[in-house]
Amino acid sequence: MSRNVIEITNLGKQYRLGQVGTTTMADDLKRWWYNVRGKDDPFLKVGEENNREKKGTSDYVWALQDINFSIKEGEVLGIIGKNGAGKSTLLKILSRTTSPTVGEYKIKGRVASLLEVGTGFHPDLTGRENVFLNGAILGMTKTEIRRSFDEIVDFSGVERYIDTPVKRYSSGMYVRLAFAVAAHLNPEILIVDEVLAVGDQEFQDKCLGKMKDVSGQGRTVLFVSHNMAAIKSLCKRTVVLRNGKVYFDGSVSEGISKYLEAANSSSNNGLIEKHHRTINTGIVFIRNIKLDNEEFVKGNSIYFNNSITVNCEIEFLKDLSNVIFDLRIVSADGVEFMHTMNAYDNDLRDIKTGMVKTRIVLENKLQPGKYFLTFGVHLSDGATLDYLENILEINILNVTKDNQKGLIYDFKLGYVRPNAKWQIS
């Protein structure tokens, strides 16, 4: 049985909000005074849960609280959570760039952390010089780098520019070279934070492949991403963080749907709370979003093959022209696989200040199962005015409306069951 290589016990990290100034000085003095008398830090008792949407009363928040889990040798663990859930703080602590406020963790083996690619790249130095410098910063020795230098250059695909200062590189080349160095680290434990979100598709696939190789060699990988497809293809286990706490720890598919559940907030009356907004500019507010009453049975369930009708009330605080409404359907494993917007019909609208109602009728070919609905309001130049990610849960039943019997085949394979004509001869 493989042993644990990381063990985290009661880990917590507290941050002070606001600016550094005389108040912090006063707090520091108080802390010091308690410390001198051998008492515990008085500020550890205060502090609130990390929820950025709520207005708090304390100057202290816990970015992470009561984190307990361990990772086995060779395990590939995905860490997911909304923005601000504490993922990056956790990675920072594990990669030792900052220390925890309470709790402890133990690590066995050499750790390399990739919180960012190209750390320490010096713009004036050539690609070659930077490979060595960056490699050394990431913990490789000169000999190790020299040994894998050709491989690194080969992987990055910037051979031609290797003796040119990196400040002349295109951003893609820069990232490629940087990732190539990181990819050739040979640590026992690799900590990766969303570095895959860079580069073109081809390179992203290459990176993903490399990460798979790494995990295939029995090394332990901690991987943070918002890319559920990447998590799904790489990881065997996920930890879902929510407001700085472990919300779920277990299998990937369950973890992803827990994450979407956490992010989503299906409220039956359709009213949107302030803290549901992913992006908001303060000009437009989606006030209410719900499925049409006739269509669903209970909650947000819809009969198989019955059209989906979404009603939406949006408040505009300003007159705007060329407004785009955007509706996406997201699968439980996080794939945005259906998209529609008024712009596809060339129906951009000029909207006056006030309430606007939209009604979207979607042909429903979805396979039975759970889906999420994302709704956004944008301008034609791409600016997002309001955006609610996974705001509504839709449950496609395995029964049809007119025929209350179950479907013959109600298993979920794929997302869509299209109208198809089979000609078998």
Binding site: T98, S99, E104, I107, R110, L115, L125, I137
Partner: protein, 285 residues
């Protein structure tokens, strides 16, 4: 799930570490990084320049010319019978080494926050590499100093080199380096949260030059003041180097020992402070 003993783990991180937890072995493991950083420091600054490393010689030459003109020709300040040009160049060379080390190491945390925030490596690597690259620069500038020195050595009879004590020169250079390292990392630690000290340091270094007998010899002062000034490690180092190389100046074994002890204590304390700071400075920087 198997239970492992504490000895089985490579790293155990707790909120507070023991105060005397200096891991020099870890710094040693990153020696390649130190060397690459030194190389970066030395090469990157001269990229896109035509004169390149020649600037290392131009700067002290000009400064010496100005000092000679102001302090010697016009103000008639004593140079302890050492030819003024040699006196100022010597002072300038060693002072530049000290002040450069101090200035560069004093913003270790702030200047490297971007890198430190993303990757862990022993933070002491950075100040060490600064000291080493400045040591190399000093070595190159010593070529210039030697040339000027030899000129005066053969054309005047003022200079007597004390060959039996010549090892005191590298000793003083090391003391200067370590003293500036200790001051530098101390300041870099205390400025991470409260930036007040950066203002203090920016003019304190300039003022320190006048308190460190760089542009005039310690013999200019009264006995009492001298006794006080020599507790400043820089003064003692400057004077010792002068005595060994030219035969003029003030030398005292007592003060040399005091200097050594002061430097050692400063270094120890500042490394401890630095060590304490590096663990969580990312939260406050």
């Amino acid at each position: 799930m198997s239970k492992e003993k504490n000895e089985d783990w490579d790293i155990i991180i707790k909120p507070r570490s023991a105060f005397f937890n200096i891991n020099l072995a870890e710094v040693w493991a990153y020696k390649d990084l130190i060397l690459l950083m030194v190389k970066r420091d030395l090469t990157a600054i001269y990229k896109q320049t035509v004169l390149g490393p020649l600037w290392m010689f131009i700067q002290p030459l000009f400064t010496t010319a100005i000092y000679t003109f102001t302090f010697s020709t016009n103000a008639h300040l004593s140079t302890d019978n050492i030819p003024p040009i040699l006196f100022y160049l010597m002072g300038q060379t060693f002072w530049t080494y000290f002040s450069e080390c101090l200035n560069k190491t004093s913003n270790t945390f702030i200047a490297n926050a971007a890198v430190f925030g993303k990757v862990y490596f022993p933070r002491l690597v950075m100040p060490f590499s600064v000291i080493i690259s400045n040591l190399i620069k000093l070595g190159l500038q010593l070529i210039l100093l030697t040339a000027i020195y030899l000129y005066y050595y053969f054309t005047t009879s003022e200079l007597q080199i004390k060959t039996n004590a010549i090892l005191l020169v590298p000793f003083c250079v090391i003391i200067l380096g370590l003293f500036s390292l200790s001051m530098g990392i101390f300041f870099s630690s205390i400025t991470t949260k409260y930036r007040d000290f950066t203002f203090l340091l920016s003019f304190a270094v300039q003022l320190l030059m006048f308190a460190s007998c760089v542009v005039f010899p310690v013999s200019m002062y009264s006995e009492k003041t001298q006794a006080l000034l020599l507790y400043n490690p820089i003064v003692t180092c400057m004077e010792t180097i002068r005595v060994v190389l030219t035969g003029h100046g003030c030398f005292s074994m007592y003060y040399l020992c005091v200097t050594f002890i002061i430097t050692f204590i400063c270094l120890l304390l500042s490394v401890l402070v630095f060590n304490k700071t590096e663990r969580s400075f990312m939260d406050t920087v």
